[in-house]
Symmetry: D2
Amino acid sequence: MSNNEVALIIGGGPGISASCARLFCEQGMKVAVAARNPDKSVLRALQEEYGVGLYQCDAAEPDSVSDLFESVCKDFGSPKLVVHNIDGRSRDIFRKSITEADPALVLDVLKNSTFSAFLVGQQAAKNMLQEKADAAGLRGTIIFTNASAAVKGYPKSGAFAAASHGKSGLAQSMARELMPEGIHVAHVPIDAAIGWTQEDGTRAHRLAGTSVDDNMADPDRIAETYLQLHRQHRSTWAFEVILRPWVENW
Amino acid sequence: MSNNEVALIIGGGPGISASCARLFCEQGMKVAVAARNPDKSVLRALQEEYGVGLYQCDAAEPDSVSDLFESVCKDFGSPKLVVHNIDGRSRDIFRKSITEADPALVLDVLKNSTFSAFLVGQQAAKNMLQEKADAAGLRGTIIFTNASAAVKGYPKSGAFAAASHGKSGLAQSMARELMPEGIHVAHVPIDAAIGWTQEDGTRAHRLAGTSVDDNMADPDRIAETYLQLHRQHRSTWAFEVILRPWVENW
Amino acid sequence: MSNNEVALIIGGGPGISASCARLFCEQGMKVAVAARNPDKSVLRALQEEYGVGLYQCDAAEPDSVSDLFESVCKDFGSPKLVVHNIDGRSRDIFRKSITEADPALVLDVLKNSTFSAFLVGQQAAKNMLQEKADAAGLRGTIIFTNASAAVKGYPKSGAFAAASHGKSGLAQSMARELMPEGIHVAHVPIDAAIGWTQEDGTRAHRLAGTSVDDNMADPDRIAETYLQLHRQHRSTWAFEVILRPWVENW
Amino acid sequence: MSNNEVALIIGGGPGISASCARLFCEQGMKVAVAARNPDKSVLRALQEEYGVGLYQCDAAEPDSVSDLFESVCKDFGSPKLVVHNIDGRSRDIFRKSITEADPALVLDVLKNSTFSAFLVGQQAAKNMLQEKADAAGLRGTIIFTNASAAVKGYPKSGAFAAASHGKSGLAQSMARELMPEGIHVAHVPIDAAIGWTQEDGTRAHRLAGTSVDDNMADPDRIAETYLQLHRQHRSTWAFEVILRPWVENW
């Protein structure tokens, strides 16, 4: 693959999205980032430093997602690498017992996580299938970030388990459908807390005396795996890669 | 458990729901069946023969589900066995490639399957937790019927894979949360086509020369497994049981 | 199925095997139990009370296993229900780190668990396939008891994880191969400590103030599930059932 | 990690082992390859071109494996990357029904695959734990190659399913035990036929009109994934990566 491909990252924040944007830019890609609110300092910084394109998008709204792809295609070209990086979990649904969970918020997490993954996956597939495959027969890569809850349904986490498992099922179906078409669909549950860059520029960490890289998933390293998945030869495509820190209990 | 317990089956049709209603009644339970349209001949027949209570319910609507439980509690008493038996798949979403699937229908299947499972599971748990446990410490059983798509994401089945996986994740989370409270949560993917009674009273079957029992899951037998799960001693609770016919390829 | 079928239980002790023998006898079956050392008081008691046949067998030795089936066929008839109930784990391998495990003991656990499961499964299948199927097309049931280690590889448990996973893989292959021949192959990991009858006749339990049924898998209840699996209609065969107590953490 | 680390590959042939040896040498590593018969032209060629060390080893024999590690440590230094690449399946066990499989060959496949994986894993862990961790806290990487049969037990494949599942269980247990010690344990089932270099230098392929890279797993690409796993940062270690060609049915 050439290095000036277009990458589109949906769900923009200071963690995986920012790390992906930075790494993909450094690899020579043209990068677009979409977020419900793209006016965040970490995204503005990426725009200034690397020319990353910023887009407003509500990924749970069909029209908003199709508009996004149209704009990115017009501005940069058809994306060859699409990352769906939305967790969808609001603070108000976190650690709620099944009896306490507010139905409206449960539906929201299903929409923001599972349904938005469908909308993004659909537009990504449509775009990739419209373009001619490259010389190696490849059309592109679609990566779904997911959470521990995709692998195990934890107590007091019913809505999030449902949404994360749902995203996993969607990704699996898309992989079986699209891989023979030359589209690498990958599902990456991060079975860990994810480190991030704090406002003062330092990296967050969980345990005193350890660096962020030690006991939390470092988003820069997650981005490396995403790049490897994108570059992985089609004779050996991995569908699912669960990433966890060395000290994680599983 | 006494035999005059209340059972509530959500999602009423001529397959598993009718078989469950019949078997549970024969076991002495008081049975309520809820359906979007309860005015079906198979349900009316159950009402006449066994006194099954029929309820109109849109299981994807929070108020409709809470109203249902209120009515059933008033009419029969608090349900000790609740079966969520909604597939949620409309014909128009069936075997659609990811690019062809209509987003509105995808959201519908998520609502009708995963979200309705949450709503039903939540009301069931609320009711069971409000009641005193019986002498053996048991509060009741919640069973989620599911499909092959809960176990494997098939191509051209993204929306259904998402909804079915989502229901599976929800069930798992609820099991870990509620089993220690004396509520047996079970998840039963039926990895097969399910037989049913046709209008002329004969049973449907798939292959010439075989009976329905041979190559399709017989709903009467599924109902037996549900009853066993409900009666299963809490020292050996099964969470997941995948049922498939002997000749099924898997 | 008629009730005077022959059941053969391999691996005889005071837990699952004794409970199965008792229940199967009470159901009218003719029961044989094989053990490395069949001269145990719990087995002698079953022999006296129910006429259970006791056989000496080293289930890791091909000739010993084929001799066993020959003897049982001659004494009772061809077994329709075979339970492989050998854990294979010696005390000396328990909780050993990978660096401390004695290779000779590791090979022993592979032989006593996985390889003996193969030998027993092979003889069971041979016998069942030689007999005519019954009117319902059934030839019999083969049940493999397994441990938590079949589902998850715990640290300091490498040999046991290998042996238990191996037994699981064997069972899965046999299920896919033999179910279409009318043989129900089932795999039952018990994800818990298992209660047992102590020398003084009382039941063992783990936590003060709770009964054995509460926090350990009660072998009498495990036996009930085995009977249900044997009686389960072939239109809805379960391959795998993981049993765990309601309070178990998983 | 420095680039002059020692890599040890157990199970030497023209497929994954040769590709790994070549790639690891090109990365500056000192590479040792052990095989039951190291006198193969493909291995001799690696010895001549890259200085790969060749060792005779029966990996199912405890003494042979400990001798191997001793020799490699003496000749090259303590291995930081160990690949267990033994399938263990003899032609005579292939596609045998459960009733036809020769018990002696079944035990052989368990020894050659599962037990040898234990022996190699144990020696690798011992060596890595004896050495000081590097500045990043890393002690090394142990990779177990596995087959489709590790993921699914196919019919007429009982022995191989048992051995492959067994290896998987071992790897999982070792990962949970050793990752917190700074050893990256990875399990890589190749869900596909694997291409190889034929005697005449051409690459084998399965379907007319396609290249080896298209429809079989290319061992050169598998080797790339192994190198990535070895280099993967410990904040995001993948335990399991299933590799399959884009056109594979799964």
